[in-house]
Subunit: 429 residues, 2 copies
Amino acid sequence: MDKKITHAILEAVDRRFDEQTQFIAEVTAHATTRGREQGAQKLMDEQFRARGYETDIWEIDVDAISGLPGFSPVLGNYDEALNVVATHNGGGQGGKSLILNGHIDVVPEGPLDMWHRPPYEPYIDDGWMYGRGAGDMKAGLVANLYALDALRDAGFQPAADVYLQSVVEEECTGNGALACLQRGYRADAALIPEPFDEKLVTSQVGIIWMQVYLRGTPVHAMQTSSGVNAIEAAIPLIAALRKLEENWNARPKHARFEHVEHPLNLNIGRIKGGDWPSSVPAWCCFDVRFGIYPGQDIDAASAEIENCIREAAREDKYLRNNPPEITYHGFLAEGYSLADHDKPEARQAEKSLGQAHRAVTGDDLQTMPITATTDARFFGLYADTPALVYGPTAESIHGFNERVHLDSIRRVTQTIALFVAEWCGLEKT
Amino acid sequence: MDKKITHAILEAVDRRFDEQTQFIAEVTAHATTRGREQGAQKLMDEQFRARGYETDIWEIDVDAISGLPGFSPVLGNYDEALNVVATHNGGGQGGKSLILNGHIDVVPEGPLDMWHRPPYEPYIDDGWMYGRGAGDMKAGLVANLYALDALRDAGFQPAADVYLQSVVEEECTGNGALACLQRGYRADAALIPEPFDEKLVTSQVGIIWMQVYLRGTPVHAMQTSSGVNAIEAAIPLIAALRKLEENWNARPKHARFEHVEHPLNLNIGRIKGGDWPSSVPAWCCFDVRFGIYPGQDIDAASAEIENCIREAAREDKYLRNNPPEITYHGFLAEGYSLADHDKPEARQAEKSLGQAHRAVTGDDLQTMPITATTDARFFGLYADTPALVYGPTAESIHGFNERVHLDSIRRVTQTIALFVAEWCGLEKT
């Protein structure tokens, strides 16, 4: 690409970066945990429309997606679960179309006293913006928007169709991204600026969520020995799951994860049991999150996890006759490897992104596999669309004092802008 | 007592027993878990007033009781925490005064699907009334009222003052009964018809509640090894507490509990931790309930439990530097032994109750120590008032399908009526 144009685009990002930073803070100030995304989605829609994009805002229809591959089971309902897609119609000068995707939902913030400052009052300190969701992934979501703004400020627009997607449900099912597929959005590539340190993600694991529900025999605490404590009944099951995790990680690794020390992580992320200190608890419920390799069959993996739980239960004389109930209440997500995506566009997209990254940073684009999932799997697996995951440097995502690095956001925005220019082509406005 | 009068009183209980049963069901239909006692207390007040008793209904004032011996710390507020006391003024013909006490609060009902029928829709089947609180202790609370009704139906009233108390907070602190003391209610004896199988309770343990709060290091589940899971951090602490329970029960037993196999029970009654399946949990909180012997010092016992938790924490390299927080949020209850209450009235009250029981059942009154607490400790320890605990047969209190035996309620009501007649003396109305 013409050096003058490149320079103009990079400068355009710089010029608007204060405004971009403020807008990231505005979006981060919305506490968009599951079920509370509506306000922020309407803000995104407003901003899309203010720039002249056609927008499509809709509530996810579970019935319409539940039969599609990649669907994850849903607990609760989808009232208020709005997706927004803005469309830029390119001039059709032969460039390739693109989906710029990001998710609006964030994970719960946890106990407030573990945050230095309130999680939804974003602030900047020493070059970092702090706040729940600032990194994962409101900075990336906003970078998509401002990358296109920079092209326009430089006097251009993408020559091909570009879809700006702001989706819900990335953190628990991916059903937001799936609903975009169901609604017909397709392109030659997708890019998701998830906060992975300005590296291109080559491969992501799959994720299984399940909930284990145990019943005990509740009695008054004065007769604990005649009751069965459902909380303590969970302990050997958790131990068995940790053993299974060890076994899985001791097996030969997936090629893309060969250099990852512990690719398949188990997490016991939530527990709840009992109602009253002086009643032997009648129930206990805990959440399991397990990683699996790309290509690993979800049903087989789930069955193995279930077997592990059931076998541990059979060793207990009470649970043997009162087996745990296992429910699926979120991710049944397959893994995805861009690096193994067998399509010329995948290599072209990697190459274009690499060039853009080098133009901005002067360095080669580094790559890495991740032990998490992203919405990339929907584009990659179910629409044969190479999906690039590449975003800014962030820390403590899902933890406390989550933060994202401002200079990194600026560089990522510039890289996205150059990538769009290269991938879609440019036309003068 | 005159056989004809005895007979008339017993018959009076029988005659009103259908009405009494209906009223137990009406009170049981109120879901009087902590904070929701108001409606039922107003119903009790109404019923007391309908019978011509003076009533006193008031909201517990924490500041007024927090300096008194026997006070237990309170989490949350006491809005809606109403006590009701009805007073019968005796003619002063030399009889002894009496407190008839019962509690209106019930423990949470747990998952509804573990009940055969809804917990607050009481029903009768095969001679039992089912419902949360029917046994513990609405049947007893109502028995107090109907025992006095029977005297009146037979043409009498107690010759001394009788206080009918319906209190809150028995299930977590005892601060309802304490507030009655603070308000000045005193008598020569107290009787509480807690559901202990028509046996007289000779001794009750003390109870300590504490809450243990652990912090972890929350990270995204993709990096579980760099985080510390607060839920799993709780497991060795629970194991250490079970060891302590073993040690305590291996020590020489309190004389009144010599024949009780396992007098001091630990219960882990509630646990909660984490917010999200894919975040390593930042926190976990569990509730400990421990029994102690009468005469055992609460501070020393609490310190021993705390030490046990802290020592277990020190063995973990993370918890060593992030020690658990321990909070007291309920019972700091001393044990009480009526059988060791060194006052002539204690022996007299036992004897009178024994006679009444024999007149109704034909059997000697059996006695037993219990591994639970009741409000008896307030009367016994802090007002030097012998406190009898004697009530109907119930099953599954604090469990599911809680039930109380109707014939047993009838007998207990008759016994209470005869006991009042004997203890307070009778005068014609």
